[in-house]
Symmetry: D2
Subunit: 127 residues, 4 copies
C-alpha cells in the first residue's frame, strides 16, 4: 500500500519545517458538529490550516476525496494552476445530505508527497 | 460527439415539464462579476435553479467540471446517495486564484441525460 | 462551451506541422467491428496514429473518456510522467460488455490544447 | 482512514464465500517481471482471479488506481453497466513507460465494500 500519511498535532512538534510540511499537506474538514437528517450540509475541506502548499507544475494538490466511513461520497480533482501557481490552500465545499450520523475523513493527494488523511470528523445527525 | 445540451432560458418555454427538465440538468455558475488578480475567488456551481434533480442509483449527477475557456480548472465527481437519495441540487464550491479575466463554463454529466453546459460567466480580473 | 476539436483526415492536409498537431491530439478507437452480446469486448483507445504527443509537466494527455452515444462508459486519467516524460502515445484498454450495438466516441483532454474527439466507431452486436 | 482491505491468499482460506469475497474484490496486476527503460510496458489490472464481481447499480467497481510506490500513475473509473450489468471482471490496461524499477500497487473501490489493494508487483527495469 502506498503510505497514507496522517495528520499529527503540530503544536507537539518543534521543528518549524516539519510543522509546515505536515500542516500544508493535511486536509482539514470544516463542518457543523450536528445536522438534520435530509437537509443540506456544507462540508468544507481545506488543505492546510496555518501553512500554504505550492501550486506548481510538478508539485500541487491533485485531489481531495471525502469518505463517510468506508464509503466514498465525493471527490474533487484539480489541475496545476487552479491557485494561480502561487502557494495557497486548495479547498472545496461539497454539499451533502446526510440521513444518519457521519464519520467523515478526507484524503488528499500531493503529486510529490503522496496520500494524506485528515482526522475523522463526526457529525451527529438527528431527525 | 455526444450531444452537449445547452441551457435555454426557461422563461421562454411554456411546457412545465420541459422547464423542469432543462433547469434541473443545467449547471449554474454563481460567482462575483469582478475579482482581484492573485486573490482567492469562490466559484459555486449548482445544478438547477428552480427545480431539483433526482439522486437515485440509476439517475444522478455524476460530475461537474469547471473550464476557463478551453482549460479545465477543476472537477467534482459524486456517487449516488451524496444527496441522501432525495431530489436536490448537486453543488460544489471551488476556490480558484485568477491571474486575468475569466470566461467560466461548467459542464455536468447526468447518468441518464448526458452532458449539459452552463452559460459562460465572465469575471473581470484587475491588478 | 469549450471548443471540442474533431479529427480531420490528415491525408487531406498539406502542412506537416498541422498533420502532426491533429494526429497526436486525436484519440483513435481500435475495436472489432462486431461483437457478441454479453461477451467481453476490448476497446483500445490510443492517442495519435503516426505522431507522438509530449508527456511534459505542462503539456500532457490528462484524460481519455469513452462514450457510447450520450452515455459515459469509462474514463482513464493520467498524471504527467506516465510515459516517462518522453513523447509517446497515451493509451488505455477498457474491457466492456455490450448488450446491443455501440456507437463509441472517445474524448481526450490535453492540458495545453483542450478537448479532442475521435470519429465515432460503430460495433454491431449480435446475440 | 477508511479501511483498505488487502489481498489474502485464498488457498489458505476454507470458507468458499470468503474466498469468493476476497478474490472478486482484489485487483490483480498482470505485468512482465522485467522491462526496458524508456519502452512501453503494458500493465493489466483485473479485478478477481477466479471469481467475478457484480456490475449492478448499487454494487460495482467504481475505480482502479495504479501507484508506483507513493506515486499515482493513472486511474480508471467506471460507471455501472460497463460490464453489461452482469457479474464479471472489471479490467483496464494502462501503458506506461518506466525509467527505473517499479513497485506497482493497484487500489480499487467497490461501491459496497470499499477500498482494496493488490499485492505489490515489482518490475526490474534495465537500460
Amino acid at each position: 500500500m502506498p503510505k497514507v500519511n496522517s495528520y499529527q498535532d503540530i503544536s507537539q512538534i518543534d521543528r518549524e519545517s516539519k510543522k509546515d510540511f505536515i500542516d500544508r499537506h493535511s486536509p482539514f474538514i470544516h463542518v457543523a458538529d450536528s445536522a438534520k437528517a435530509g437537509e443540506v450540509l456544507a462540508v468544507n475541506v481545506k488543505m492546510g490550516n496555518e501553512y500554504v502548499h505550492p501550486d506548481e507544475l510538478d508539485h500541487y494538490i491533485q485531489s481531495i476525496k471525502l469518505f463517510n466511513g468506508e464509503s466514498l461520497l465525493a471527490e474533487a480533482s484539480f489541475l496545476p494552476g487552479t491557485l494561480g501557481n502561487k502557494a495557497g490552500h486548495a479547498e472545496v465545499v461539497f454539499n451533502i445530505v446526510p440521513l444518519k450520523d457521519l464519520s467523515l475523513v478526507a484524503i488528499s493527494y500531493c503529486t510529490k508527497h503522496g496520500l494524506w488523511q485528515s482526522d475523522p470528523q463526526v457529525v451527529k445527525v438527528s431527525e
